[in-house]
Symmetry: C2
Subunit: 346 residues, 2 copies
């Protein structure tokens, strides 16, 4: 099916467009009254993730309400560990929790991986098909996965953490075990992304959400090689790689064959340009808290950001939009980007 608004895909292919495309990480979620209404009637987050018609509905809501240039499938990065055999619970106001964690080689052996594991996530592929039908080609659909290190971090730590010190400890105390686990996770992510592409996603994003707790040396050893395998595998659709807070590895990330690099809000756009080069497609990176400000302030900040990046840019926040962000702020951001024209800075 032809995509009517394909500005995101053209930008990802390196085309020069008249403005940056715009979407928001976590745009399908609590910022929308439609989402909150639907969510109120459900037993929990996982019901929403695992029910294709519902996941599709909330995926499409921001396209209708905000006019963003892409949809991103409503899901969670932790469906991959679950498909590998490590169940998680989503605890309200606390976040994910794994009743069982990975500690030994025997634990790793019990995990499924690759295509057999990925094939278990039928509800995700059904949600993709359902969403594509509902979108009817209006905008492209992005599918996503967590990166190997970030998934390992949850599988070893057992939940969220400020420091992920248990997961980092494994890299020092048993690096071989860490590599075994990263290998299995990577195989699963690759199969998962290939299944998603087969089901119809038009682009994929890989989130290395906990990249920032590692040192440059650890990132080089335990992350980059696995990300490289993923970047080289998913096939026919563009891939966006977002390693949050990994400023110290940005030059190495920029050498990977990803189609675009995500950036958090601590990175200055001109610094990123100087590291990644003028032709690299960069995605980001407005501070999500900017959207708490007045529409005028948001417009100024968004325009300053767009000018700093120059072309080959996908406008987004530097992190997922915070759940209590006023809808007016989100709309001010999206509309500012959509009204911008690069000819203003030619």
């Amino acid at each position: 099916m032809t995509i009517q608004n394909d500005i995101l895909l053209r930008t990802l292919r390196g085309e020069l467009c008249q403005r940056p495309p715009v979407w928001l990480m976590r745009q399908a979620g609590r910022i929308l009254p439609q989402y909150r209404a639907l969510r109120a009637g459900l037993s929990g987050f996982k019901e929403l993730v695992s029910t294709p018609t519902l996941a599709a509905e909330v995926t499409i809501q921001p396209v209708d309400e905000l006019g963003v240039d892409a949809a991103i499938l409503f899901s969670d990065i932790l469906v991959v560990p679950e498909a590998m055999g490590l169940d998680y619970e989503m605890v309200e106001k606390k976040g994910p929790s794994f009743p069982k964690v990975i500690k030994t080689e025997a634990d790793i052996r019990t995990l499924d991986s690759g295509k057999p594991a990925a094939d278990r996530l039928g509800y995700v592929y059904d949600a993709i098909a359902e969403t594509k039908k509902g979108l009817a080609g209006r905008v492209p659909l992005i599918g996503f996965s967590g990166a190997p290190w970030t998934l390992l971090a949850y599988m070893v730590e057992g939940g969220g953490s400020k420091t992920f010190s248990k997961a980092r400890r494994l890299l020092f105390s048993n690096p071989d075990l860490a590599h075994q686990l990263l290998d299995k996770i990577t195989e699963t992510i690759i199969a998962y992304l290939q299944n998603k592409v087969a089901a119809g996603v038009d682009a994929v994003q890989v989130f290395d959400s906990w990249a920032g707790v590692l040192s440059p040396g650890l990132y080089r050893e335990f992350c980059i090689p696995y990300l490289k395998r993923i970047c080289e595998s998913p096939g026919d659709v563009p891939l966006i790689l977002f390693a949050k807070d990994a400023w110290f590895a940005f030059d190495e990330l920029a050498r990977l064959p990803a189609n675009a690099l995500g950036m958090d809000w601590t990175m200055d756009p001109s610094w990123a340009r100087s590291v990644a080069g003028p032709d690299r497609v960069l995605q980001g990176n407005l501070d999500p808290c900017t959207l708490y400000a007045s529409p005028d302030t948001i417009e100024t900040a968004a325009r300053t950001m767009i000018r700093s990046f120059g072309q080959h840019h996908i406008a987004n926040l530097g992190h997922g939009v915070y759940p209590d962000t006023p809808l007016a702020g989100v709309k001010a951001f999206v509309n500012t980007v959509k009204n911008f024209r690069y000819q203003e800075i030619a």
Copy 2:
């Protein structure tokens, strides 16, 4: 009183010593069996902080047990908000919690500040006097304070947070209010550090623990000017400034008149040297998780770090030592530094 082991103070003054001095952030704490034994008999963390003889005892424990080159007063950065009128509780396994938070200009008006607030912390100054007596000049004593932004973050957020989005929100939604609060906090920190110096500390460290959640622009506006005031004020003892995760402001921090800059473990020492210059005293930055590894691995990592920094370096971790770190690992680190000689790399 003359300090017998003054390698830290000489390094802070820019002297070339035969090895780097070494101490660890959070060295007075749960890594030591002596601390855990003493703590077990107390009602809570705050009893320890506010009882001078006990605070002095745990401050001295790592000097006896580990042979570090400095003591750092056992205390908490949140005694400053408390002295300003904002009580906190330390909730076991959860962290600090403020029953009341700062929301409005009226809230700020009710806060005490400057010398009257700082003078309330008599138990801290008594603990300093007690510690100096116990140390009997063996090593210098470091006093510390949180930085203005980090204290504001707790006072507005009401406790710890991964994102401190409520505190960051204030910077966007009401920058004037944020500046008013930062000004009052800064005045109090300055008076507090001056009181500490008067009570006998030999050096001070300012912790901007939550620097890393800000963007370069916000850091420039809401942090640097206040840190500058603090760097210019404490008087006669050297000041170490540690802005964790503030890589994006490292060049600006390096221009402040601090005697040394702390570094977290995401910063490559050679990168920091290239930004701060060869003569800047830098402190850090081994990944705290390194100390979970074998003594051989720790020795190799510590020696590699020391060589990367070159002279004008204070060996430390890139963050507080984690409470469950094996004592053998901590000792391997300290001993490696103490056995190193710069002539090896001359």
